[in-house]
Symmetry: C2
């Protein structure tokens, strides 16, 4: 991968997030820094960065992909009400182990927990 100013801006911007933005959300922020960066460039770079393992692409959270600069293995929780995405540390989960039965070579797995977050639960009690 060659250097490009645009890719640097995109990666830097993603790294400012503690949560995991969608491409659209990231675009807003990237665009506010550099008006000339196009969506094509954003998507291309996010996919390249994910393919080379520098960032992570998370599917299945909602209708769009989300991106995460935190590459250490961890899982996610999405609140069904507010749709916010929280990190679940791997240390807090008993990691699933699968009896492979010679059927599959499993290289990775994602766990997505769903439910109601503390904040939304509180709101409901008012």
């Amino acid at each position: 991968m060659n250097y490009s100013k645009q890719r640097e801006t995109i990666l830097d911007t993603l790294r400012e997030y503690t949560v995991h933005p969608s491409a659209e959300q990231l675009y807003e922020k990237v665009h506010s820094k550099d008006k000339t960066i196009s969506k094509g460039t954003l998507y291309r770079n996010l996919n390249q960065l994910a393919a080379s393992g520098i960032i992570k692409k998370i599917d299945g959270l909602d209708t769009s992909a989300h991106f995460d600069h935190n590459t250490h293995e961890h899982y996610h929780f999405i609140c069904n009400r507010c749709k916010k995405i929280y990190d679940i540390e791997k240390e807090d989960v008993k990691i699933p182990e699968i009896k492979q039965k010679d059927e599959f070579i499993i290289t990775n797995h994602d766990i997505i927990f769903k439910g109601i977050c503390k904040e939304c639960r509180k709101k409901n009690l008012d």
Copy 2:
């Protein structure tokens, strides 16, 4: 939910699958039975059926949602090469348990395993 002939056809058709078709794949088959069923009707019904727990909607497998008539809890494996989706029985997985720390009320979770399936592995050895 009222009865409708279209919904019956859609559900019957989904139940013919052992794998989990996308809406598009299902549409082909449904359409071959009844040319008048529209995509709008298909999507609406799939979402209604999923909302009422009669079927399951699986996100995060690829770019589209997939649907599963098998409502007993189980996980999925998707092959990175052929993109086929296999069932992983819950009995074959040590279920993850999370230290909730009072933060979340977890109502459900999905696990998606990724890797290479047996068939694709074989092909590579030829």
